[in-house]
C-alpha cells in the first residue's frame, strides 16, 4: 500500500479514485498528472503545510489511512443479520436475569416498564453489542457468534441504528439532497441512488399525515414529517439490520405502517414504549423492572384481537385530528364514531 505515495497521480486517481477527495478535503491542489503524492507533499512550503495543518510526513500517513479506510468502507456492504440473541445478565441487585431471547429478521420486540426500570439500559446493551462488559453483564450474539471488535466499534457503518423522540434534523439541506448525501456516505452504487431516494421520500410522505415537497429543507419539516423521513431513511438507505426505537408514538406518524415498513425490509426492531397499541404490535414484549428483563410475553389470540380494536380506535382518533385541523366541528356522536 505504501507504493501509492509513489504512484503518478494519473494512475493513482484511476486505481484509487477515493483519493481525489482527499486533496479536495485538505484544500490543496492534487498532484499534477505526472507527479506523485510524495513529491507534492515534499514540495509544499511552510505556509502551505501550515494551511493543511500537518507536516509532510503526517500528510503521507494520512493519505495512506484515507485510501485504506475509504476503500474498506466501500467494500463493507452492510452484512445482513438473520438472528440476534440476547443472553441475560444481572439486575440492579446483582440477581441473575433469566433471559435467552432470540430475535429474527423482520421481528419486533417491544420493551415496556416504568421510567428508570432499565429500558434504556437494554437498548444501550444492544447498541453496544455487549459482551458481559456492561453493568448488566448481558451478552449479545449476532447470528450465533460474538461480533468482532471492528463490527462492535464501527461508527460509519454500524449494524445498529437508533431513532428517538428527541432527535431532530439539524442540517440545513433539502430533503432530497440530504438523502442523496446519506446514500453516498453509505457507499450506495451511484446508479441506485436517485431511485432509492425518491422511494424513501414518497414512503415518508405516506407515513406522515401531511406531505412535504422533496426539496423542502429538513429544518422546516414538522415533528411528524421528520420522524417519517427518519424511518423511511432507516428502511431504504441505512444498511443497519438492527433498529432501536425509543418511543414511536405522539409524533403524527402512522405507527403500524412505520413498523410494517421496517419489518418488510427485514430489520430486527426493538421499541421502548409506554403506548398500549405499539406494545401489542410486537412479536414479543419484554417487561423490564429493576434493571432486568422480568418476563417475555408473546401475544396470544385475545391480545391480537385487542390490537386490531386499538388500531381501529387509533384510526378514528387520527380522523378526528384531521377534522379538527380542517376547522370542522366535532359535535356529532363521538362515542358511536369511536366504537369499533
Amino acid at each position: 500500500m505504501t507504493d501509492i505515495l509513489d504512484l503518478l497521480y494519473v494512475r493513482l486517481a484511476d486505481e484509487h479514485p477515493v483519493c481525489v477527495r482527499f486533496f479536495d478535503e485538505l484544500g490543496i491542489a492534487p498532484p499534477a498528472a505526472h507527479e506523485t503524492p510524495r513529491h507534492l507533499f515534499a514540495s509544499l512550503d511552510e505556509f502551505e503545510l501550515s494551511d493543511c495543518g500537518m507536516s509532510a510526513a503526517a500528510l503521507e500517513e494520512s493519505l495512506l489511512s484515507y485510501v485504506r479506510r475509504m476503500e474498506s468502507l466501500s467494500a463493507a456492504a452492510g452484512p445482513p443479520v438473520s438472528e440476534l440473541r440476547i443472553r441475560g445478565g444481572v439486575d440492579k441487585d446483582g440477581r441473575a436475569e433469566s433471559l435467552d431471547l432470540v430475535m429474527r429478521a423482520g421481528e419486533v420486540a417491544c420493551i415496556v416498564g416504568p421510567t428508570g426500570s432499565g429500558k434504556s439500559r437494554l437498548l444501550e446493551d444492544i447498541e453496544y453489542l455487549a459482551q458481559g462488559d456492561t453493568p448488566t453483564k448481558r451478552r449479545v450474539l449476532v447470528d450465533g457468534t460474538v461480533p468482532d471488535d471492528a463490527v462492535r466499534h464501527a461508527v460509519e457503518s454500524k449494524i445498529v441504528a437508533q431513532l428517538s423522540q428527541s432527535m431532530v434534523f439539524v442540517m440545513d439541506l433539502p430533503a432530497r439532497s440530504f438523502l442523496r448525501l446519506h446514500a453516498e456516505s453509505r457507499m450506495m452504487p451511484e446508479g441506485r441512488i436517485d431511485e432509492t431516494v425518491e422511494r424513501a421520500i414518497s414512503c415518508a410522505n405516506d407515513l406522515a399525515g401531511e406531505p412535504f415537497e422533496p426539496d423542502a429543507s429538513l429544518t422546516v419539516l414538522s415533528g411528524g414529517q421528520s420522524r417519517a423521513l427518519m424511518i423511511a431513511d432507516l428502511a431504504f438507505i441505512s444498511t443497519s439490520p438492527i433498529v432501536l426505537i425509543d418511543e414511536i408514538e405522539n409524533a403524527g406518524v402512522d405507527r403500524k405502517r412505520a413498523l410494517d415498513l421496517l419489518i418488510r425490509n427485514d430489520k430486527i426492531v426493538f421499541v421502548a414504549t409506554h403506548d398500549p397499541l405499539t406494545a401489542l404490535m410486537g412479536d414479543k414484549r419484554l417487561v423490564v423492572g429493576n434493571g432486568g428483563v422480568r418476563r417475555v410475553i408473546e401475544p396470544n389470540e385475545a391480545e391480537r384481537c385487542n390490537r386490531d380494536v386499538l388500531c381501529t380506535v387509533d384510526e378514528r382518533l387520527m380522523e378526528l385530528r384531521r377534522l379538527v385541523r380542517a376547522g370542522e366541528r366535532i359535535d356529532f356522536d363521538v362515542s358511536s364514531f369511536m366504537s369499533p
Binding site: E25, A58, T134, S166, D233
Partner: protein, 233 residues
C-alpha cells in the same frame, strides 16, 4: 504518571466526557486535571465537585497554545507532587490553527455534532492530529446525520478512532475508556515534542499594536489574495 490531552471547541462537552471517564477510571487511576482557558473559567469547580484534583491556567493576553506549551511541563511536575497516575489536560477555545497534542501522548479531540456538517473539515490540527475523535450530543440528531457526520470526520482524520459519547448519560464512554486505557498502557511517561508547529506569528500586533494599516503591520505577516486580482491596498 501518564498524560492525555483533550482539546475541542468551547462547549463541545470536553469536561463532561472527562468526568464520565474519571468515574469509569475510579479505582484504576488516580486522576487529576489541568484546565487551560483563554478567559476565566469555572470548570475547575466541576472537577472539584467530583473530587478530582485540578489546576486552572488562564492564558489571558497570551496565545493560549504558546501558554499551554510553556506550562505543560510544570503541570506534569504538579501531577507528580499530587501522586497522580494520570493527568488529563483540557484546553478549550484555542484557535483552529493550533493543537495541544504532543508526540507519543494520547490525544483526544471532542467535537459537537450540532456544530455543523462541515465542522470536522474546518477544525484544524487539534482534530486532524488527534488519536481519538469523540463526537458528542449525537443523541439529538437523526441516525442519518450521525452517519454522514462520522464519515466527514473520518475524511478529516482517517487515522483516528472515532467514537460517539453522550456526555450526559455517559453512553459510549465505556468504549472510550477501554480504548484510552490500551493507548495509555502502550505509552511512556516522556513529554518532549508538539505534534505540529505553533503559528509563526511574531508581528506588531503580538506586541500590542492596535492601529490597522500597512504602516503599523510589521514582522511576520501574510496577505490575502483576492479572486478579482485587485491590489491589497
Amino acid at each position: 504518571m501518564k498524560l492525555v490531552t483533550f482539546s475541542g471547541p468551547p462547549s463541545s462537552g470536553k469536561t463532561s466526557v472527562i468526568l464520565k471517564l474519571a468515574s469509569l477510571f475510579e479505582g484504576r487511576y488516580r486522576l487529576g486535571a489541568v484546565k487551560f482557558d483563554c478567559l476565566t473559567s469555572c470548570d475547575g469547580a466541576l472537577y472539584e465537585q467530583a473530587g478530582i484534583p485540578v489546576e486552572t491556567g488562564v492564558s489571558g493576553v497570551l496565545c493560549p497554545d504558546h501558554y499551554f506549551a510553556s506550562n505543560i511541563g510544570a503541570c506534569l511536575a504538579w501531577g507528580e507532587r499530587q501522586g497522580l497516575d494520570l493527568l488529563v489536560s483540557e484546553s478549550a477555545g484555542l484557535c483552529n490553527r493550533c493543537s495541544p497534542h504532543l508526540r507519543d501522548v494520547a490525544a483526544v479531540c471532542v467535537i459537537d455534532i450540532l456544530s455543523g456538517i462541515e465542522a470536522p473539515r474546518k477544525i484544524g490540527p487539534m482534530l486532524k492530529l488527534a488519536d481519538f475523535v469523540v463526537i458528542t450530543k449525537s443523541d439529538l440528531v437523526s441516525q442519518a446525520e450521525r452517519e454522514v457526520f462520522a464519515l466527514h470526520t473520518v475524511r478529516a482524520n482517517p487515522r483516528a478512532r472515532i467514537l460517539f459519547v453522550n456526555g450526559l448519560t455517559g453512553q459510549g464512554s465505556r468504549v472510550l475508556a477501554q480504548a484510552l486505557e490500551e493507548a495509555l498502557d502502550a505509552q511512556g511517561d516522556q513529554v518532549e515534542r508538539l505534534r505540529f508547529t505553533m503559528p509563526g506569528a511574531v508581528c506588531s500586533y503580538c506586541f500590542g499594536e492596535m492601529k490597522i494599516g500597512d504602516k503599523y503591520a510589521t514582522g511576520n505577516i501574510k496577505y490575502m489574495t483576492f479572486s478579482d486580482g485587485g491590489e491589497r491596498r
